[in-house]
Each structure stands twice: as C-alpha cells, then as structure tokens.
Amino acid sequence: MVSARKQFDVLIVGGGPAGIAAAVSAAQSGKRVGIVDDNPALGGQIWRGETAQSNSEAAAWLAKLHAWDVEVCAGTRVFDQPVSGVLRAESGDGTYQIEYGKLILATGARERFLPFPGWTLQNVMGAGALQALVKSGLPVSGKRVAIAGTGPLLLAVAAYLKNDGAKVVAIYEQVSRTALAKFALKVAAQRGKLAQALWLRKELRDIPLITNAWPVAARGNGVVESVVLCRGGKHEEIACDYLACGFHLVPNTELAVLLGCRLQNGYVQVDDFQQTSQPNVFCAGEPTGIGGVELSLIEGQIAGLVAIGKEGEAQSLFSARRKMRSFAEALDRTFALRPELKSLASTGTIVCRCEDVKYGQMTQHRSWRAAKLHTRCGMGPCQGRVCGPATQFLLGWTPESVRPPIFPVALENLISETHEEKEHTFVM
C-alpha cells in the first residue's frame, strides 16, 4: 500500500463543527492548514451529509472552509503517533505520515450505551447510530421507533426520524419533568440555536415525551419486538420495530491520551487558549466537555486563532464561550444518570459485545484492569469504547491506558517508515 507524507503548519483531527471552525480560523493566516476526518465527508456527527450548497449554518461554515486553501483529508483516520510531531493515518488508498507544527484535536464524542437484558437484539441501537444509518439510506418509513435514554440528542434523533417517515412511538427520558423543565427554561433564556433546534421543532409536538422512564429490557426473537420500560415504578411493554437508545455522550479522548494530554474528570484538560498539557497540542469541542454545537464552534475558533498566534483575537471569544460553558454544565447536571440505571444489567447481560463478557463475570473483579485481564472485556476490536464508559458508570471503574493503534488498522500500516529526521520547516 502506498504511504504518502504530508506536512502542515496546523493540522486538525476531526471534521465536526469544532474542527471546521478551527480550520477556517487558522486558514486566514495563509499557513498550511489540513483537516482529517474518518467519515467520507466533513460535518461530524451533527452536520453529517450537509454540503456547502445546503442552506444552513453548516453550509455557511463549509463554504468558508472551501474558500480558504484548507486541505481536506476525508475518509482518513488517525491511529497512531510514532514520534512526537508526526501522526499516522489510514485511508482507503493507503497511509499518511502527517507532520504538524500545531495540532488541534477536535475528535468529538460518541454515545454512551448502557447494557440491559436484550440490548444485543437486532434493531436495538444507539440513537445517533440509527440516525446515521438513516442518513446513509436505511428506510424507516412507517417503522415504529421507541427512543429511550437521556439527553437532548434523543429529541434531535426523534425529530429527524419523524421527518424521514418513521412512527416515533415515544421518547422515554430518565430525568424528571421538573429537571427537564428547568433545563428548558435555561435553554430558552439563552436563545441558543440548539434551543430552537431541539425544543421548538414542530416535529416533536405530537411525540409523547415521557419522563422518569427508562428501558429495563428489550424483547424479541432475534430482532426486537418490544421494549419493557420502568415508568413511575411500574413496568410497561411497548411494541416497536426499532429501539434507539442513548445515555448522553462520552468524549473521544483516545487520541489525546495517546499523545500524553492530561485528562480532568474524563475530559481533556485545556487552558483558556484551548491548549492541552502537551506543547503545540490544542483541543476543542466535545472532548473538553459535552456542550453542543455552539460551544464546539467557539472553542474551535479559539484554538484555530491561537494556533496561528492570534491570542488577542481569540480572547474576544472568551465571554461567548463562558456563556456556552454554563450551558454545558447545566447539560451535565440535568442529564446525570440516575442510580437506578446501575441495576439495569443482570448477571447474564452481555456487557462487552466484542468478547461476549457478561455482567456477572465482570462484577467478580475489583477494577477495570483486573476484569479486563481475567474476562477479556474491552479486548476486542472496539477496545472498550462501548463497555468502558458503561462500566465506568455501572461499577465506577476507570479504563486503563490507551495503546496504539487507537483504531484497528491493517497490520502492515503499523510499520512506520524509518524515522528520518523530521523536517523543521515550520514557520512557528
């Protein structure tokens, strides 16, 4: 396979809102700016499938990105840093050895999934995952979809699926109606675009939003046929063709950890200038805290500006960021998982899907590391991306160190070229 070398003054990993904003801000300097994302096109989770032609905020940002001379490497996944200042990435047609002067990590977040009996049945999936499948062509017209879990993402997904012709049976939200109402008020007060996106959409009007309710089991013969919910202390069973679940988001911090960036409460620690604990490495968007699109955009801009030495300009965005961060904190508070969810899994429930490890096997151990060594949980291809965050909540375990590759790669791609001196031609 071919292996090509690339060099950037500023390299951005992740092409969601944070990454796009960072690239646009950094590109103004005339420096060599590159952006890498593992999806076929830029956009990240929320702007997946948007183009510069569509009439939206996404389109505006993408148009700006194209106006500047930013090199876009889509369908390319960063999996390793063989030496400091050099990343390795895999794409369909080979590998890249990418050298950078400054690096901005904008790797986003993924859904947290909690195991309950039946969650491995077909058509039980992550809410965002189902949305992504529908975006890439899965027909859901007329299908009954039950949505359960927690967080504003559930509403967004419900609206999206409804638009696509799905019959959304109900949204089951684990938090209380009061907590939700308080949060809604705060959102409305901020008049954020997220507020409009989530709360004022007409699609949601006739979808029942049931609070204080959560899934306890999925039933079906190979494929899900119904979901059992705990609602006001009682169990009720609802028929469905799809069960879309999500228990809020967890940050993608693997690359940051591989690079040696310090974490704080599970998020990448950054200073006011989005600088991580590693020199020349910045982080923006969800890995620094789950705060939605607007915060991601602001953090991305700050990181992009600081990376090209425009700290002053970056500072003018601090107050906007402060406001959005308070929203992020409200999100965390509001959608904190209730303790009852810790007993969703029974001894026989599979927790690690890659290696078929059951909850009862894991609870015999005292730490993630011990459980991993003795049950193989987290040892499969996803390397604990699903069961790690689940057990973090269920058992209070902290997943262990990250090892390369951070995504599975063709074995030959792990062989990096002999490390010739990295060329120091950077302007900074």
Partner: protein, 377 residues
Amino acid sequence: MSAEKYDVVIMGAGIVGAACALECARQKMRVAVVDHDVIGGGATAAGMGHIVVMDDSEAQFALTRYSQQLWQQLRPELPDDVEYTQCGTIWVAADDEEMAEVHRKASYYQRRGVPVQILSAEDLARLEPNLRKGMAGGLLVTEDGVLYPPCAARFLIEQAQALGATVQVGAPVAEIGNGRVRRADGSELSAGVIVNAAGAWAPELTRGISVKKRKGHLVITDRYPGFIQHQLVELGYLKSAHSVSSDSVAFNVQPRRTGQVLIGSSRQYGAEHKEVDHEILGRMLQRAQEYMPRLSQTSAIRVWTGFRAATPDKLPLIGPWGEDSTVFLATGHEGLGITTSLATGRLLADQLSGRASQIAREPYLPSRATTMEHAHV
C-alpha cells in the same frame, strides 16, 4: 501493632508467585501472597503463554520439559478460561542450514523422549498454508501448547486460597529482609521465609541479584479462525542472534482460541519504559510479514509491551539468596516463565520442605550467580 505471621510470604502474584504459593500451600505452609497490582498483571499479563520445551542448555531443557509435563497433568483441572490448547510448536526452517538445525533438534528431543515430527517443505505448506512459499521444512513438537496466562495465574492463586493461602493485592511492598515484609504504608508481615517472585522488579526488593529487564512487544489481530494452527517460530534467530545490536526480533506467531493471531517477538535491553517503540515494532512486523505475507492485510487491534526478567545464563534463580537466610528467589525466568512456573513452584517448595526434587536443582540456585557473572564478562 503486631505483624501478621506467615511461614512463607510471596512477593508477586504473577504466574511464578502463584505457582509457588500453591506448592507451598500444598506442603501445609501458612502462605501469604502480596502484590501491588492485580493478579497476573505484570509480565504474566504481557506474555504469549506459549508452553514450550527449549534446548539452549541441558538445564533449560530439564526445567521446561518437567514444567510442560506438570501443565499436562494439570490440564483436566484447568478451567475453560485458561484456554489451554496443545497445539504444538512448529520450528520453521527457511533454508537448508536451518533444516540441518531441525535434524539436530529432532534428535536431541527424541533422545530425551520428547515426541517430534520432522516436516518436509510440503508437509509444512500443507499444515500452515499461510506461511511464505518455499520454506525448507520444520520441526513439529506436538506436546507444546498455548494458554492464557492471567487466568492461569488466577487459577493457581485460587487453588492456593482453597488450601488456606492469603492473597493481598493492591499493596505495594517497600522492603523485604530479616523475616519481615514492610509495605509502603508502613504495615508489616512477618515470615519464616520471604519469596521474591517480583519478576523483572525483583532487583528493587533484593539488591544485587543479576536480573535485568528485557522488553518485548506483541501485536494482536482481529479474529481469523484457522489462519494458523500451531505456534510458529523461526529458526532464523540462530543467525540473527549474531547481529551487531543487542536488540533483536524474530518471527513468532501464536493461534489464540478466539481465532486471533498473537504476533511476537522482540527483545530489547536498557528500555525501561513500557511505551511502544515504533522502530523495533516495525522491524518485528516486517519480519512477521516476510514469513507470513498474508498477515499484512489482517486487522491489528492492539500493541503492548512487557518486561522479561533476564539473567546472564538464561536460567531462572530458584532458591535461597545467600545474603539473607530468610529470603528466597523465584525470578529471572526471561521469556519462559509461563512455561516454567509450575516447575519453579515445585523446586521452591521442595527446598523449603526438605523434599527431594524430580530434577536437579543446582543449575537454578542463586548461588551459581557469582560464577555465572564471571563467565559472561
């Protein structure tokens, strides 16, 4: 505060400490095992788990063969998660010179009663079709096997516990000697005998023993059931061992029960950090691809490293430490500690209980160390 009292306190819940604990408990000794990490979390978590008979020296052969037979005896009791499989080893010969080594090795093993089978080029290609075309042949050692070391260590520890042994994990030990084990938090255990089975970290507890860290890298792939059937090891290391640098790589691949392929191996001295070294990793994988071209397209899911406890004469240290009559050593197993753990436990318990041993213990006594050091200058 009075210290807890034991006949034997074992430092380290790796596979060697676990085997020692079980054998001592079987001899009715009051045993405690202390480890600052989890059971089997050191080299035992990193190792390949190849149960292999080796012939670098008579003493190495005796220990590996004895231990391999102990594993075979234990087999009916091993729980499923130990994944013991007697898949056999094939020593792969790439050319005629290496084929000559196959014949030498075959007669060495046959004379000592180890079942082997010489494989022609065609036999080898049939048994392992994913090997590069044009290999000269190989030697199949049928009683060699593979297991999953952390669960094996846990099993041995559980057996010891069933006989009354105490296990204390998550407790770092600061100092040992004169019948006392002092933990980092200041608390103490009192012991008739302290066994230092702290693997590559043993010199931190017993200064002056000739054990050095030797770092190794391993790579695991996704599941490819049937990709290989035996543990495959190149004989080419005979030649590469003469290379100028002390760091070396060799083709050494293992079939896991899951269908995954575990790929080794590398050896480095003087590397103290567990971070992946991309240069030697690259060389190791290059070597693996040369022998098995189709490996290059398999999906690699994780790379890790581990530290072997290496001694100058490639033999472990099993027995009393001359400078403190209460300290015994059970370390220095280099790349064979999974294999030789059970024999180590036996030899150690024999010495502590005054029982005769089934193989000569002299080659492994730490007292040989002075002469050994001499020979290696």
